[in-house]
C-alpha cells in the first residue's frame, strides 16, 4: 500500500485529534474579503465558526479540547458545540479536508 494513503474511513469522535493536511489551504481571499479553503479542484467557503474550528485543528488538540475552547469563547453549552463540531469535521474528513 502506498505510504500515507488513508484506506479506512476516519470516524471523528471527541478523542480524535484532527489536522488539516498541508495540501489543504485555509487562506484569506483578499479579492473577495473572506476566508476560503483551497483543495484539489475544490473551493470551500467556511463561515466564521468553521474558520475558528479549522484553525484549532492542529493535530494536537482533541475534538473535546476544541469544543471546550469554543464553549468558553462563545459562552455556549459544550454538548451542543461538540455535536456540531463532530458533524462538521466528519463531513470534512469524508471530503479529505481534515485527517484524523
Amino acid at each position: 500500500m502506498a505510504e500515507g494513503a488513508q484506506r479506512v474511513r476516519a470516524i471523528i469522535d471527541a478523542a480524535t485529534r484532527p489536522v488539516v493536511p498541508p495540501h489543504i489551504k485555509l487562506r484569506h481571499d483578499a479579492a473577495r474579503g473572506r476566508w476560503i479553503i483551497l483543495a484539489p479542484e475544490r473551493l470551500f467557503d467556511p463561515d466564521d465558526v468553521a474558520v475558528e474550528v479549522l484553525k484549532l485543528c492542529d493535530g494536537e488538540r482533541t475534538v473535546a479540547d476544541i469544543a471546550e475552547y469554543l464553549a468558553k469563547e462563545y459562552n455556549a453549552p459544550i454538548v451542543e458545540i461538540q455535536t456540531d463540531v463532530i458533524e462538521m469535521l466528519q463531513d470534512l474528513a469524508d471530503k479529505g479536508v481534515v485527517k484524523a
Partner: protein
Amino acid sequence: MNEYSPAHIKETAMPLGARQPGEEDKDSTEIADEACARAPIGLLAELTHRCPLQCPYCSNPVELERVNTELTTEEWQSVMRQAAELGILQIHLSGGEPTARRDLVDIVKTAADAGLYTNLITAAVLLKREQLEQLKEAGLDHVQISIQDSDARPENADRIGGYKGGSAKKKIVAGWVRELGMPLTINAPIHRHNVDNVEGIINYAVELGADRVEIAHVQYYAWALKNRAALMPTREQFNVAAKIVEKAREDLKGIIVIDSVVPDYYAKYPKPCMGGWGRGIINVTPSGRVLPCHAAESITGLEFDNVKDKPLAEVWLEGEAFQKYRGTDWMKEPCRSCSRREIDYGGCRCQAFALTGDAANTDPACSLSPVHAQWAKVAEVESHETPPEFIYRRPGGAGPKPSAQKKPVPSDA
C-alpha cells in the same frame, strides 16, 4: 464575541472545463456566483501542446500549436503573477503534457510564490522522480494523473493512449507522488473501450492511494468529436456505469472522493460549461492566447487577445471574446426566457457552434433545442455500430483512417 451558531461550510467544485461536481446543490451555485462576481477563480494554463500520448479524445484543439510559438518562461511567470493579482485562486498546469516544458519547476515556483494553489495535470509518462521532488520543493500542491484503464488491462490502456508501456509508467509515478506525501487525483476518461471497467478503475485509484478519482465520460468536442463513433458508449453502458459510481461513492465514503462527469448526449440538461462563459475560468494557450474555454477557438470569427499584447485583467474584463457570451444578454430563445438560463447558461457555446453553426443557439444537449432529437439520435446510432479505428491525436490532425466529415445540422437561428 458573537453568539455561537452551527459551523457551516459550503462546497463548490472548481468548474474546470466541462467538469461538474458529483453532487449538485443550490449552495454550490450560489458560492460560484459570488466567487466569480469579481474575478475568475481558476486559470487553465496549457503550457504546451506537445504530448507523448495520442489519446483520441484529447481536449486540445484539432489544430495543435507548435513548439516555436510557445510562451517563454518569463512570459508564463508574468501570467502567474498577473493571475494572482487578478484574484485567481487556482492554477491548473496542463497541456498537452506540461512536464514536456523544461522550465516547469520555475513556472510552478513563481505561481506558488504568488500564493496560487497549483495543480499539475499530467499523463505522467515523462516524469522523473527528481523532477517530482523539485516540483514539490517549488510548492506544487496537487498532482492529477490521467489513466486510460486499470493496470489489470495494460494493453488496452496503452492502445487507447497510443503509448506503449504508459500504463506501467503511470503506476510508478503515482507511487512516487504518494511516497512524497503529495495528494493525488486519478482522472479516467470513460468511453466504450473502458466503460465496462469503471469498478476496476475506481478500485485501482484506491490502490494507487488517490484521494480523488474522476470518472470523466468523454466530452465530445475537438478530437473526441472526430472520434465520436469510436468512443460513444451506449445508453445502457452509461447507466450501468452510473450505478457503479453511485454505489462506490457510498462504499468508499471517507476513503476516496469520486467525481463524475456525464456525457451530455445522455444528460437531461446541458452542462453549465465552464460554469458559464467568462464567469470563473480563464484559459491560456501555449502561444498566450486567452480563451474563455479551451475549445473556444473552434468558434470561428471570435477574436482572442494574447497575454503578449494585453494585461490579463484587461482581457478578462473587456476582451471581445469574453464579453460576447458572458451573462445572459446574448441569448436567443429558448434560452432568453428560460428559468434555467442562469443555471446552465445555455450550455456549451462550442457545441452549439459545431452542430448548429451559431454559438448563440441553445446547446443541442438541451431538450429545448430544436435540433436536440436529431443530435441525441446520433449517440444512439453510433454507439450500437462497430466502432471505427481511432483517429489518434497528432500534430497535423491526420489519423490512420480519417472518417468522413459529418455534415453540420442546420442552424436554428
